[in-house]
């Protein structure tokens, strides 16, 4: 039958496309790490060797990068877990008042880009210009000890805060769906509350907690913006920033192959943890095999601790979202950077916003960003939808492999992906992609494919097979079925994924920085990064304020669509 044949061709097409998109950059990443040529453009199979590896791993600095990375990742993950477990426990299992604020507020913190959050805290806590530090000096004299945000501690604190919302969103449904009769059965079996907590509740939550922990550690490991803003100025490197430094800020001719060599360990760690993570998820799911139905939620009476508990929850929201926004808002009206005081009120100005309108680079960056983000989101949605259709709804022989291929980029840190594409686009110079926004767009699309296909898989599984079959027997050919049954039923998911991709593509700086060439492919994230680097703080504050407002509105839109389930995986920077 003609239709059947077309269907199969289409399956193969998707399969080959994904295979190509995922494997080619990886191949270049690996080959590049062995290349002895200085520049990716000079790469040839004749000039191969272990020089890069020897150079990178014999450097005593590498050991320090390892230990920095471990401290940073472990610290941030631990802090985030403690905060997220406490918040989730407060809203799900206690009678704390004002829960609605936490339910609504915590996901909102995702709207503040990591880069801007780090910058806001620099304005508060940098040793020289930090508002808080200046205040301390004014009160206690110039010898007073200050808090320096350019430190491992600063990175741990900020990344810890940033990981909370994702962990919270993962933990809340977990705590909600936990069958209370499992605990009640322990109580009627004679177990005291503490014993129940230890032997039943925590044991049941353990696999999921470990899974959340690994997921968070992976995120911390991959994040570039926080260690980039807080670590680079002080010369404190972790993996992601070191790779960036080798490629972008080396004083001499950059040695690109060394970045690849460093990226390889990084890649192994990331792939290893992903493997472990998927196995943990499997176990966690086995534990939820036996669950009860809707029960009246049991809630612990906090008594006199009700208000203090709410206070702590609100403090988190204040530090994560209100404070960075206020700092940016304030700085955006300053003629030059200065600490808040009564005198400042008289010099506040709209100059920065006017400057933005006049400054040509802002316009072109904005245009680039809109194009890049729109293309990325659309491509991700279309590609993920097609991949998921094949994976979930067809009997195509390679559908398992296709699913794994689509998920694999999830394990690859953005900065590593950046290098891989950097090599790829320089080498395939017959395609004029290098230095364009399309290069960034392709890179992001592949990165977000994992998220897109997870969401679409879940949504497609919800659509009963018979809805599709009913369309066939009603005379609709496959493509009509897709258009008239799947697309309308999946609309919330399609829109949700689209907005999610926009939210993330607009603010991630890591990969675009690796592919950045000049004004031609400068996007907003890079513009902010560069302006910050050059010290135009009030102008950055103005852009940042506007960006935060837009992102907050978009995040609200996601919630408005009622797109709850997908927030499970909202993460990144």
């Amino acid at each position: 039958m003609g239709a059947t044949l077309r269907l199969h061709l289409w399956h193969h097409g998707i399969f080959l496309l994904i295979l190509f998109l995922v494997l080619t950059p990886l191949a270049f990443l690996i080959l590049g790490s062995f290349s002895t040529a200085r520049l990716p453009g000079d790469f040839s199979l004749d000039a191969m060797g272990l020089v890069n590896y020897i150079k990178v791993y014999s450097d005593p600095g590498t050991l320090e990068i390892f230990s920095n990375t471990v401290i940073y990742v472990a610290g941030a993950t631990a802090l985030a877990l403690v905060l997220a477990v406490s918040l989730a426990w407060l809203v799900e299992l206690t009678n704390m008042p004002g829960k609605v604020l936490v339910y609504a507020g915590v996901p909102m913190t995702l709207a503040v880009p990591g880069m801007l959050q780090a910058m806001a805290w620099v304005l508060l806590l940098s040793p020289r210009i930090g508002f808080i530090n200046q205040l301390l000096k004014d009160i206690f004299g110039p010898q007073t000890p200050i808090v320096n945000v350019y430190s491992l501690g600063g990175m741990v604190f900020l990344e810890g805060l940033r990981l909370v919302p994702t962990a919270f969103l993962m933990l809340v449904p977990l705590m909600r769906s936990m069958d209370p009769t499992l605990e009640e059965a322990a109580a009627v079996s004679g177990a005291r509350p503490l014993s129940t907590l230890r032997k039943v509740t925590l044991r049941l939550l353990a696999p999921a907690l470990v899974a959340v922990m690994i997921y968070q550690a992976m995120t911390a490991l991959e994040v570039f913006e926080i260690p980039g803003i807080l670590g680079l100025p002080a010369g404190i490197y972790v993996f992601s920033t070191k790779i960036y430094a080798i490629v972008r800020t080396a004083t001499f001719m950059p040695v690109y192959g060394q970045a690849n060599a460093l990226a390889m360990v990084y890649l192994f760690i990331a792939v290893g943890t992903t493997f472990f993570y998927t196995r943990m998820i499997g176990r966690a799911e086995r534990y939820t095999v036996i669950t009860g139905k809707g029960y009246r939620p049991r809630q612990l009476d906090l008594g006199k601790w009700k208000i203090p508990a709410l206070g702590c929850a609100l403090l988190f929201l204040f530090l994560s979202i209100v404070l960075p926004f206020l700092v940016f808002l304030y700085a955006s009206f300053l003629p030059y950077l200065q600490a808040p005081s009564w005198n400042v009120l008289r010099v506040l100005t709209l100059k920065n916003y006017r400057l933005l309108a006049e400054y040509g680079e802002v316009g072109s960056a904005l245009k680039n960003t809109v194009l890049m983000v729109g293309a990325t989101a659309t491509a991700t949605v279309v590609l993920s939808f097609l991949v998921s259709l094949v994976v979930i709804r067809s009997k195509f022989w390679g559908r398992k492999l296709l699913d794994q291929m689509a998920f694999m980029p999830h394990a690859i840190p953005g900065i590593v992906m950046g290098i891989a594409f950097f090599w790829l686009f320089l080498k395939i110079d017959f395609l004029p992609l290098y230095g364009t926004i399309w290069a960034i767009s392709i890179g992001f699309t592949i990165s977000f494919l994992a998220y897109g296909t997870r969401s679409m898989n879940a949504a497609l599984l919800q659509i009963h097979k018979e809805l599709e079959e009913a369309a066939y027997v009603s005379g609709a050919p496959p493509w009509r079925t897709m258009r008239r049954i799947f697309v309308p039923l999946m609309m919330p998911t399609l829109v949700g994924v689209w907005i999610w991709v926009v939210l993330h593509a607009v603010r991630i700086a890591g990969m675009p920085l690796m592919l950045y060439e000049g004004p031609n492919n400068q996007v907003l994230a890079i513009l902010i990064w560069n302006m910050w680097d050059e010290g135009y703080v009030p102008a950055v504050a103005a852009i940042g304020t506007l960006l935060m407002i837009v992102l907050l509105l978009l995040t609200l839109a996601v919630r408005f669509i009622g797109f709850r389930r997908q927030t499970m995986h909202v993460g990144g920077t």
Binding site: D179, E184, A187, V188, G190, A191, R192, K199, Y287
Partner: protein, 362 residues
């Protein structure tokens, strides 16, 4: 063994306050199999959970054995882990992180006095053999079938040999065939052990086949309490008659009072058993079970309590033939032997034996 006095349970939900249990009294004697039967939302599970200590009643008193475990007047509430009870949950609540052996051993390990390892092992074995799960000790709990999980939950509830066993719809998640077998097994097991059992179900068949005493609940109250035969043969009100088994209801007016009186209904004078204290002219509802009616295609052998009608529908149900007869505008249902020689549209006479017709106050 279990005594409940004036129990009230109110709780708050998102939709407002619910008065789930409204002042019930009950008394379960030593070794009795006592069933709370009612539709969902009638307060039966809330009552059971109050006995377990999982629900905090608003008012009343609960005794387990000689011990008072809850008293609102004395401000006393013994926590569940200090009450000597075993309980089987509707979802079974088998701990998925423990294997079969450890699930059953859990209550023993939580006993105040440490149980020596040998004794622990032999008691777990014994409990598992009671429910025929020997040999599955090392099986992870999630790898059990529904029936096995149900039996494991029972073994766990029995392993401490508690004075009281609480069962919350333990059969409702089993398939029909298994449920039928388990009904008999479960009753035999608890009767053999002589354990006092409080059982909650919405399934009338379970209640009738398993219980010594059934308490029918509705809207937070016990509407009737008695032996299964009493409950079925002599329902005290329309709710009980309608909830348990099939019933035909005929509205009418008393024309002759007395224990065996007469009611004018469906155009005839019907002899039936009247409740105490009704007078001529009172409105009543006459209840008659479908299996108590006699059907005649020719002339009736008796002249009393005869209704004439036309067969509207015949429904073959395997062991019986349900026959729906239109008497005037009223449909009366009766159960016939499946090979009865009747046909749709046929005019028939129904005879209602006076001893099986019970009038209830309307």
């Amino acid at each position: 063994m279990i005594r409940i006095e004036q129990l009230h349970v109110r709780y708050r939900t998102e939709r407002g306050e619910v008065h789930a249990v409204r002042g019930i009294d009950l008394n379960v004697k030593q070794g009795q199999f006592f069933t709370l039967l009612g539709p969902s939302g009638c307060g039966k599970t809330t009552t059971l959970r109050s006995v377990a200590g999982l629900e905090k009643p608003t008012a009343g008193e609960i005794y387990v054995g000689d011990e008072i475990v809850f008293s609102s007047a004395k401000g006393l509430s013994v926590p569940p882990y200090k009450r000597d009870i075993g309980m089987v949950f509707q979802s079974y609540a088998i701990w998925p992180h423990l294997n079969v052996f450890e699930n059953v051993a859990f209550p023993l390990r939580e006993m105040k006095k440490r149980v020596p390892a040998d004794e622990l092992r032999s008691r777990v074995r014994k409990a598992l053999s009671l429910v025929q799960l020997e040999g599955l000790e090392d099986r992870p709990a999630p790898f059990l079938s529904g029936g096995q999980q149900q039996r494991l939950a029972l073994a766990r509830a029995l392993v401490r040999e508690p004075r009281v066993l609480l069962l919350d719809e333990p059969l409702s998640n089993l398939d029909a065939k298994l449920r039928e077998e388990t009904r008999v097994e479960l009753r035999e097991l608890v009767k053999r052990l002589g354990i006092t059992t409080l059982y909650v179900t919405h399934d009338q068949l379970e209640a009738l086949t398993m219980s010594d005493v059934v308490a029918v609940m509705d809207g937070g109250n016990i509407v009737q309490e008695g032996s299964p035969v009493d409950i079925y043969r002599a329902p005290r009100d329309k709710f009980v008659a309608a909830f348990i088994g099939l019933s035909n209801f005929l509205e009418g007016r008393v024309t002759k009072p007395g224990r065996l009186g007469e009611v004018e209904t469906a155009g005839i004078l019907l002899k039936c058993i009247l409740p105490d204290g009704v007078a001529t002219g009172d409105s009543v509802i006459v209840v008659i079970r479908p299996e108590d009616l006699n059907l005649y295609t020719g002339a009736a052998t008796q002249n009393d309590n005869i209704l004439e009608g036309k067969i509207e529908a015949l429904i073959f149900m395997g062991d019986t033939l349900e026959c729906q007869v239109a008497v005037g505008k009223k449909i009366i249902r009766l159960k016939l032997h499946p090979s009865s020689p009747v046909a749709r549209g046929e005019t028939v006479r129904l005879q209602l034996p006076a001893a099986s017709c019970r009038a209830l106050r309307a």
